[in-house]
């Protein structure tokens, strides 16, 4: 059986440091999320100590705007997605105290609309992804009281479909990525009773294809990132045992670059940090030996979440 190439993946993520190619330039605007993916994967692999938290934290603060939100890089506009990534990274490094939580909470609560939904930024794109982002961010900052949580949950419920899944807005097709956002947000809000666990669990386990991987919608190809979105949702609603975990594990392991490290979307494709994170996260949910446990709703290592809420030292 293929084994997990921990050391190679760690080296792969660190090597991204040295990359100077075209891709990295085009992607400068979302560096914050890239950093979150890479650093969380490193932490799950017990290798976060190799990184310089002080320098990373200083850079993160430079990405913050007067409004409280963070951009994807220095000089880029604030957006709720990068604000969450910034908070998550600082949680990894046990540095949430350097943030002005009230200021960030004001930014996020300002993005909530009358119907309970959240916009991603001042331009007003509405999506249940942003509800998750807002709820998670405020929860980590212990400022959930700054928004209307009942209305936030109500909006998610309006996005629930006849198949038990959730979409980006009311009426939009169920999609595993959106389902993760909605289910995780409801879990954090203590509102999971709105989920029909058996109906949704069946839809989610139908996402497993014969090859063992998971897809995100019917008749789509399996992709490693759904190892995270589908599986974390199943874990949250306590239905993960309905899929074949061994086959899923093997699918993820087969997407590794055995020589240079990193994980790709599907076997034999090119690796990237995004799929590396979701592959490692999926294996963590499958309790693969040698990895830290990841929290299925917070998308952070369990010990990090515990430290935020209970002050425990790992």
């Amino acid at each position: 059986m293929t084994t997990f190439q921990l050391e190679k993946h760690v080296n792969y993520i660190k090597s991204l440091d040295k990359k100077t190619d075209f891709d990295s330039v085009v992607m400068e605007h979302l560096r914050m999320s890239g950093a979150y993916w890479g650093l969380t994967a490193l932490d799950l692999m017990h290798s976060l100590n190799d990184m310089n938290g002080e320098e990373i934290a200083a850079w993160i603060l430079k990405c913050q705007h007067d409004c409280g939100g963070f951009g994807g890089n220095i000089g880029h506009d604030p957006h709720i997605l990068y604000t969450l990534s910034a908070v998550q990274i600082l949680a990894l490094f046990n540095k949430l105290h350097i943030l002005d939580a009230d200021k960030i909470a004001r930014y996020i609560s300002g993005l909530q609309r009358e119907d309970g939904s959240f916009a991603g930024d001042e331009w007003g794109e509405i999506d249940t992804r942003f509800t998750y982002t807002a709820v998670l961010c405020l929860s980590l900052l212990k400022r959930l009281d700054s928004i209307n949580v009942e209305k936030a949950a109500d909006f998610i419920v309006r996005c629930r479909n006849f198949d038990g899944g959730f979409g980006c807005t009311p009426g939009a097709e169920s999609h595993a990525g959106q389902i993760f956002c909605c289910v995780a947000a409801l879990a954090i809000l203590g509102a999971l009773h709105h989920v029909d666990r058996d109906l949704l669990g069946w839809w989610l386990c139908e996402r497993q294809v014969k090859a063992g991987g998971l897809n995100g919608r019917p008749e789509k190809l399996p992709d490693v990132c759904y190892s995270w979105w589908v599986l974390s949702s199943l874990v949250i609603i306590d239905r993960a045992h309905w899929i074949n975990k061994e086959k899923l594990r093997d699918f993820i392991l087969n997407c590794q670059d055995q020589e240079r490290g990193g994980i790709s979307d599907a076997p034999d494709d090119a690796v990237d940090v995004f799929h590396t994170f979701f592959g490692v996260g999926g294996l963590s949910l499958l309790e693969y030996p040698g990895l830290k446990s990841i929290d299925p709703a917070y998308a952070l290592p369990v010990d990090v979440v515990d430290r935020v809420f209970y002050g425990q030292k790992n």
């Binding site: 921990l6 993520i13 660190k14 440091d17 040295k18 100077t20 075209f22 891709d23 990295s24 330039v25 085009v26 992607m27 605007h29 979302l30 560096r31 999320s33 890239g34 650093l39 692999m45 017990h46 290798s47 190799d50 310089n52 320098e55 990373i56 200083a58 850079w59 994807g72 220095i74 000089g75 880029h76 997605l81 930024d121 331009w123 794109e125 992804r129 479909n161 198949d163 807005t169 009426g171 939009a172 097709e173 169920s174 999609h175 990525g177 993760f180 386990c205 995100g216 919608r217 019917p218 008749e219 789509k220 190809l221 990132c225 309905w242 074949n244 979307d265 990237d272 940090v273 995004f274």
Partner: protein, 379 residues
């Protein structure tokens, strides 16, 4: 487990700058399918840069007189970047001028033209789109012109959040007059990629905000005739049935929708979408399903035709679980299939056992279904 790195290397602030390969700019986006397009996107952008390099007409900004008074501003990569990024020269220059204009907050025609150049180089950069909207507003720019610009860059942006958000912003400003353009445009995209999540979402937004319901059900039918497995089109169909104000809601549409769905099942019994759609039609009135002889007949026909029809067996199991008791004739078919059963609970248990075998990857699910038995006898 330790990673076993020999000497711990401290990453600099600019580490992980390069950690992104995704065209998309969100942590929780629909990246699975989008990422498959990244390669195309990058190739397209690289070609564009090559074209710019080769193109004798492309004039570097430092040679354009109208840009004389602007001092380009390089990206601040934070303190001590380990490795300075080797930007393509043209790309860097465009970005440096953009940063300068942004810093000055100059909302001028030349700024608008500059944003077009940046977008054509890197359309996922959300800041440039934001700034473009500010400029458009400041100039009170003709939005029909803007639509034309959007068309010109559309092809490489089918899965770009920024592109669709901009499109929505323009359409909202234009109002109902934009409806035909938006419907036509999304149709073009869906012809190319029939499950494009952005296009469907945009279409729903147009319908709800600006109207254009006429013909939408027929549009769904057309797409389903092209690909009966298209779950996005099934979802849109449900959306139309439930929300089109002229159609009278689910009750008015129920019969024709059941017939449409049963035909689709006949056509492709292994397609999960119509089976789910059928359940969706009876979502709030499940019990009436056990009185639908047409539905039951289709299930029995399917298992007679193909003993491994998981979806038909599953629906039968659901029906038995909520009180369906087979008629004598139906019992004949079922007996052949699962043997002679003694009670509805026994029948359901036999169906579960069959499903556990047939759908082995989900055997734990079907085993769980079995634990939900016995079925309460109807009062």
């Amino acid at each position: 487990m330790q990673a076993g790195i020999g000497t711990p290397t401290r990453a600099s602030t600019s580490s992980l700058l390069a950690t992104i390969v995704s065209q998309d700019d969100s942590v929780f986006s629909h990246l699975a399918e989008e990422l498959t397009l990244v390669a195309d996107y990058k190739a397209e952008t690289e070609r564009l840069i090559v074209r710019m390099t080769m193109d004798n007409n492309w004039v570097p900004f430092n040679e354009r007189p109208e840009w004389d008074n602007i001092e380009p501003m390089p990206q601040d990569d934070g303190p001590n970047p380990v490795v300075p990024i080797s930007y393509t020269k043209q790309f860097r220059e465009v970005m440096d001028y953009f940063r300068a204009i942004l810093a000055k907050d100059e909302r001028s025609l030349r700024a608008l033209e500059l944003t077009a150049e940046v977008i054509s180089l890197n359309s996922a950069n959300y800041t440039v789109w934001h700034f473009r909207r500010l400029v458009l507003e400041a100039l009170d720019y003709d939005l029909e012109e803007e639509s034309i610009f959007m068309e010109s860059i559309a092809e490489m942006n089918y899965k770009n959040y920024q592109f669709w958000q901009h499109r929505r912003w323009v359409a909202e400003k234009r109002g109902p007059v934009a409806v035909p353009d938006e419907m036509k445009y999304t149709e073009v995209v869906l012809n190319d990629d029939s499950k494009n999540y952005h296009a469907w979402s945009h279409r729903q937004w147009v319908l709800l905000t600006l109207g254009g319901w006429e013909g939408e059900l027929e549009f769904c039918t057309k797409l389903l005739s092209q690909d009966i497995y298209n779950n996005s089109a099934w979802n849109q169909r449900y959306f139309v049935i439930m929300k089109d104000p002229s159609r009278g809601g689910l009750q008015a549409m129920l019969e024709s929708e059941v017939q449409f769905t049963l035909l689709a099942i006949h056509q492709a019994p292994a397609n999960e979408s119509p089976w789910r759609y059928l359940r969706g039609l009876f979502k709030d009135d499940k019990l009436s399903l056990i009185r639908r002889m047409d539905v039951i007949t289709v299930c029995l026909e399917q298992i007679s035709d193909d003993e491994s029809s998981v979806h038909a067996l599953n629906l039968l199991l659901d029906l038995v679980s909520i009180g369906y008791e087979p008629s004598e004739a139906d019992s004949g078919t079922l007996n052949e299939f699962v043997g002679i059963w003694s009670s509805p609970t026994d029948l359901a248990g036999r169906l579960c056992a069959r499903l556990e075998n047939l759908d082995a990857i989900r055997s734990r699910y079907w085993a769980w279904r079995r634990t939900m038995l016995p079925i309460a006898t109807r009062a």
